[in-house]
């Protein structure tokens, strides 16, 4: 029986591929979750920040005397008061050649470079008292010229925001496969468009929050964070506050939304840590909504001039793009603000066979809040540019856009292959996904319906968008560039005496279902009921070391670690059970919490009996047996730098040509994320991601005036998608398991956001087609649509 496979995937009681409710959702449903602001500690103090009201201004003086005298105020600090407590940080990575940035500090050093930069902090016994005091701080400002737009920042003669850096070009990159101009010269049609993507931001309903506790007697720092990356935060705190790495503990309990907002190092959070060190008392900072808008990282802000060459027969011959992006005054630490633009260069056009590719990227400093990684980093831009060009090309040669895609998408049997910018694709399924989509949405039927309605003056549009999505990144993303960001994750499993299993894993939960997905894998491999597995996440002292949650890596990396740990624990359990039963371990199995005969399935002893013998009754075991009822395994992607997923999205919408309003009628996604561990959780990741993409496409925009002042920095003014305007979203899967892991899972968290804006843009332009109008400026507001129609 030694050949019997460890068939966790096809065991009769496997949880893999089954939808189960999340056990940890119960507390959230009763309002009993614990977010950082819910934590109360003895002698807790509250920090509030005074922020720059100007985009660019010198601080000639700060008078904190009046503020310091107010009741409840414990300390008011400015930059000078924190000097020596920390070392500053610079957001560069060595593998992004030429990327430069300036040192950042918790509080502005004599000059503020964006509206919202923290300038002074008040610590008081209550938040209200701290706010009262912050209002009494008098700052003598000397306004400096703002450089709000990326164009202005790179204009010749523009003053450098950081004089030491020489100019405002943070990073540049170019790709040229050669022969691009030749391809354009021999094309039957060339289409061109300038696509713009507004700044928007994450709007996590739970704002950024941190509670720092410092025990002076042991020099131990404990951080309660709303974070996706506890181990990274531990490393950062140890490095920049000169603490032993074993003296920093980061605990992340419930996290109220993150989407990439909570993976960065923020000055106000570093200041809160410094204040806890300074005062020796716990200090809490919870951003309010107004300061979230000017201090959370912003996303996007790209202007991409793009061209595509195509032949009459529908062959895409060449793509040429030029991306300019503005990242604020600093490259964000430690992931930098150059990754998004880099992704745009890497990804654009990469799902098509087109070999001729040229791209230019310029990343500019400007006096706006820092811009950095947010859900689907770079993908929505690359996808909208590529798919927008494909639809323009289809129109130029009078070919159906689905057909043009079918002729150019990489064939499903062409893998592995390498894109013009150097991405390696292991195995994707664009053709199958497109075929599945056309069937799912009844593409032909919708086209007929659209034509019939057009005849009645009802303008509906169909938009398609194929895409790839980077998931499961290896060290090539960050680690190779020197960032303390782990690409591997670990899982430790312990059999409890009563037969239950405790699982500690380094990936984290922000509601996507991480703990449930892990429990499904562990329960399936071990042969125990799901409710017998308790998963622990979000604590650097209680879990193995690992990267946390970002870049759609939880299931693919953490899930594989859990699978391997469960196999190892299973083997240990069977070794002990074999000794107890005088049977060969290979002749035994575990099913439904019992040690069973592998062939007949007959129950021999319960797992509780194994646990009891292992922990309490070693005296009953044969000599030489040392029970080992804990196992740890790690997983780190090695075969490929990234595991790509692929998919296609479609949008069906109605355009009111009188008002410019878009009504979303239906949205479809066909996604190939490899093996689906938990269909319910995967589909909800896709749906949530789609709606975040739709937000960027239709509503969300941080509106700035020429002075660098945010004009819509409240939730009453900044629009996010609401239930009433969102469509039902149908999700289907093609499954191409990832090679090189037993689980075969790739990521699913960002694909929805990657493709949704492109699908909606193409649908709007499809509806606009009879009027010869197009839009390419996100978000596609009614005003912009009316402008395209010539109605304003």
């Amino acid at each position: 029986m030694s050949e019997r496979p460890l068939s966790f995937l096809d065991r009769p009681n496997s949880y893999i591929g089954r939808s189960v409710p999340r056990p940890n959702a119960r507390r959230l449903l009763q309002g009993r979750g614990t977010y950082v602001d819910d934590i109360r500690l003895p002698r807790l103090l509250h920090a509030v920040f005074l922020r720059s009201p100007y985009a660019h201004a010198r601080i000639a003086g700060i008078d904190t005397a009046a503020a310091s005298r107010l009741p409840g105020v414990v300390r008011v600090v400015t930059a000078a008061d924190l000097a020596g407590l920390y070392t500053p940080w610079v957001g560069t990575l060595s593998h992004l050649k030429g990327l430069k940035s300036a040192p950042q500090h918790p509080l502005a050093q004599g000059r503020a470079c964006w509206q919202g930069e923290p300038v002074a902090a008040v610590v008081a016994e209550s938040r209200a008292q701290a706010e009262d005091a912050a209002a009494q701080i008098a700052v003598e400002w000397q306004e400096l010229a703002p450089l709000a737009s990326a164009e202005a920042a790179l204009a010749s003669g523009a003053p450098a925001i950081h004089a030491a850096l020489g100019d405002n070009l943070a990073f540049a990159r170019a790709v040229d496969t050669g022969a691009v101009d030749d391809a354009f010269a021999r094309a039957d049609a060339v289409v061109a468009e300038t696509f713009t993507f507004a700044r928007h931001t994450g709007v996590c309903l739970e704002p950024r929050s941190i509670l720092a506790e410092f025990d002076r007697s042991e020099r131990r720092l404990t951080l309660h964070c709303s974070s996706q990356v506890p181990h990274m935060m531990k490393e950062i705190a140890a490095r920049h506050f000169a603490l032993a790495e074993t003296d920093v503990r980061v605990i992340c309990r419930d996290v109220g939304g993150s989407y990439g907002i909570k993976i960065h190092v923020y000055p106000d959070e570093m200041a809160t840590i410094a204040l806890a060190l300074l005062l020796g008392r716990p200090v809490k900072f919870v951003a309010d909504r107004l300061e979230s808008f000017v201090s959370d990282i912003h996303a996007r802000e790209h202007r991409v001039a793009a061209r595509m060459a195509v032949s009459k027969s529908g062959e895409i011959l060449a793509i040429d793009i030029d991306d300019l992006t503005g990242i604020g005054p600093y490259s964000t630490y430690p992931r930098t603000s150059a990754i998004e633009g880099n992704q745009v260069v890497n990804l654009t056009g990469s799902w098509y066979r087109c070999a001729n590719y040229r791209a230019r990227l310029r990343v500019a400093f400007q006096t706006k809040p820092p811009m950095s990684q947010y859900r689907a980093v770079g993908h929505p831009i690359a996808c909208a540019v590529t798919e927008g060009l494909v639809d323009l090309a289809a129109r130029a040669i009078a070919m159906d856009p689905a057909e043009l895609r079918r002729r150019n998408l990489i064939a499903d049997d062409a893998y592995p292959c390498t894109s013009p910018a150097g991405l390696i694709f292991e195995k994707l399924s664009h053709q199958r996904a497109l075929a599945r989509m056309l069937e799912l949405m009844d593409y032909a039927g919708l086209r007929r319906e659209q034509a019939a309605l057009r005849a009645r003056g009802i303008h509906r549009g169909i938009g398609l968008a194929s895409f790839v999505e980077i998931t499961n990144p290896g060290p090539a993303f960050y680690g190779v560039g020197g960032a303390p960001i782990s690409a591997q994750d670990g899982c430790t499993l312990r059999l409890e005496p009563g037969g239950a299993v405790t699982c500690a894993i380094s990936i984290t939960e922000q509601g996507q279902g991480t703990e449930t997905m892990v429990a499904q894998i562990v329960a399936s491999v071990l042969g125990v009921a799901l409710e017998r597995v308790r998963v622990v996440t979000g604590d650097t002292e209680r879990t193995p070391y690992g990267g946390g949650t970002w870049a759609s890596r939880g299931a693919g990396i953490g899930g594989e670690a859990a699978l391997q740990a469960a196999k190892a624990l299973r083997a240990n359990i069977l070794d002990l059970a074999g000794a107890m039963l005088q049977a060969a371990p290979a002749d035994l199995d575990i099913a439904q919490g019992w040690i069973v005969d592998a062939v007949s399935g007959a129950r021999r002893i319960g797992l509780d009996e194994v646990g009891r013998a292992g922990y309490f009754r070693g005296d009953t075991l044969p000599p030489g047996i040392q029970p080992e009822l804990v196992a740890t395994r790690h997983h780190q992607p090695r075969d490929y730098p990234f595991a790509f997923t692929n998919g296609v999205q479609a949008s069906w919408l109605e355009l009111d040509i009188e008002t410019g309003f878009v009504r979303l009628l239906k949205h479809w996604v066909v996604e190939d994320c490899g093996r689906v561990v938990s269909p319910l959780l995967v589909d909800e990741q896709i749906r949530g991601g789609v709606v975040q993409g739709l937000g960027g496409a239709l509503f969300e925009e941080c509106l700035y005036d020429g002075e660098g002042q945010l004009l819509n920095g409240t939730l009453a003014d900044y629009l996010v998608p609401m239930a009433g305007e969102m469509p039902d979203i149908e999700v289907a899967h093609v499954m191409t398991p990832l090679a090189g892991t037993e689980l075969g899972a790739k990521g699913a968290g960002e694909a929805g956001t990657a493709g949704a804006p492109a699908a909606v843009m193409n649908a709007i332009n499809d509806a606009l087609a009879p009027f010869g109008a197009t839009v390419a400026e996100q978000p596609f507001t009614p005003a912009r649509i009316l402008r395209a129609l010539g109605r304003t």
Partner: protein, 162 residues
């Protein structure tokens, strides 16, 4: 700023007497003075709905009320509505359908949905979407929430899925 007011009210069925700052809003009062942290502030502008709770039987935004206004009022929060079992059907439907992710909006979403269900019948998906439009969710994309509310309405109406 330091003016205080004494209030007597009922919170989740318990009589409460407190002296509160005149400027303190209801969310902060519940969270800081009573330790009822299930009510959460998302925007403090009355827009996002995360702080939705019931006062005298009607759903309100906790961030738009002062605690000092509530002398004599009957306040119900997610903790009380969970313990009484009043919204158990909705909670079960949300759990089954995974109609929540991070959970920050969930209490407000449930209390708003309960108001819709209290009107009786099985609302259409469009009616559900419309009614929930004052409660923001950044995680789910709303589809699952609409499914769950629809399922709970059917359960309450005594019939299962169509």
């Amino acid at each position: 700023m330091s003016e205080t007011v004494e209030i007597r009210l009922t919170v989740n069925g318990e009589a409460v007497t407190r002296r509160v700052a005149a400027r303190q809003n209801l969310v902060d009062f519940l969270r800081e003075d009573l330790g009822l942290t299930g009510t959460r502030a998302g925007c403090e502008h009355g827009v996002c709905g995360a702080c939705t709770l019931r006062v005298d039987g009607a759903i309100v935004r906790g961030c738009l009320l002062f605690a000092a206004q509530l002398d004599g009022a009957r306040v119900e929060t997610i903790e009380g509505l969970s313990d009484s079992g009043e919204i158990a059907v909705l909670q079960a439907a949300f759990h089954e359908r995974n109609a929540l992710q991070c959970g920050f909006c969930t209490a407000g979403m449930l209390i708003t949905a309960a108001e819709l269900l209290a009107r009786g019948g099985v609302p259409s998906r469009a009616e559900i979407r419309d009614f929930l439009s004052g409660n923001y969710c950044r995680c789910t994309g709303y589809h699952a929430i609409v499914d769950a509310v629809e399922a709970a309405a059917r359960t309450r109406a005594g019939n299962g899925p169509p």
